[in-house]
Amino acid sequence: MSLNVLASTLGTVAPTQDESHFPPSPEIFWQPLFSIGSVSITRVMVVVAFSVALLAWWLLATTKRAAVVPSMGQFLTEGVYGFIRNGVAKDMIGSKEFLRFVPLLFALFVFILVNNLFGITPFVQMPSMSRIGFPIALTLIVYVVYHTIGIQKHGVAGYFKFLIPGGLPGWIKPFIFVLEFITFFITRPLTLALRLFGNMFAGHMLLVVFIVGGWELFNAESLFLKLTALPSWALAFAFTLFEALVQFLQAYVFTLLAASYIGGALVDDH
């Protein structure tokens, strides 16, 4: 209920065009599937819950009877797991302490990948990371983890001393401390969440523009506009392939940066 109030205060866009349906105000976008009391279930929640169920079934089914000669499912799962364990965790965190964090990194990567790929899956077509709440939740997990790991290793006072790299002249230390503080506590979580959100939001909107715009062109009166619908749909196909690449890349980069922040907190000196 309070979200609608917030949305109406944010929706201070005065319509400057003649049409009455453009631009839409934020309240139009709050369309939950159903509400139980004050809890609303939206489409995106259903997609995320479905992705969790799908992942749980896939991972359990492919590793249940793990044999030395793997089946196809086990081979695929082990391929992805090995990619995260060796390529991301061991490289970014170091070979001594990386095993502790591989479950978190693997879970992040697979969860984000599946949810991103739902953006181009037919009949689903909802990249759940394009709603800002989900990247924020994942970023909060990574944020708590890398600060806790740093404080565990260096102690609370030592953690703030760790923020200043060694070998600096004394007069510059306060500035560096402020900069590093802002980086560690504000910039890193903000950019981590906004990067994932922005890429998924922008990609989804691109696809919507080309597909729905093509449909609108197709329904126009003049023949020329009807013909331009076909290149629009061809571009939509090309952008779907590009979007698949971007989705995989964003899942990989989120995991890579999470591993990098954890590794950075574990290193002995800055």
Partner: protein
């Protein structure tokens, strides 16, 4: 002439990340051209640099809508 000034701002904001991504991948191609075996080693660094530079372009796009 009507329009949105933030769209002009977004257009200007894409110059920086575009140059940055070009520089990053130019460095990656140079490194792999000098020593082809280093491709596997340099690839995570190139992807990391690309994502960090593209984040700024994405901020511009997101802030345009705010």
């Amino acid at each position: 002439m009507e329009g949105n000034l933030s769209l002009v701002g977004y257009g200007l904001a894409t110059i920086g990340p575009a140059i940055a991504i070009g520089l990053i991948f130019a460095a990656y191609i140079n490194g792999v051209a000098r020593q082809p075996e280093s491709g596997r080693l340099l690839q995570p660094i190139a992807i990391l640099g690309f994502a960090l530079a593209e984040a700024l372009a994405i901020f511009g796009l997101v802030l345009f809508f705010l």
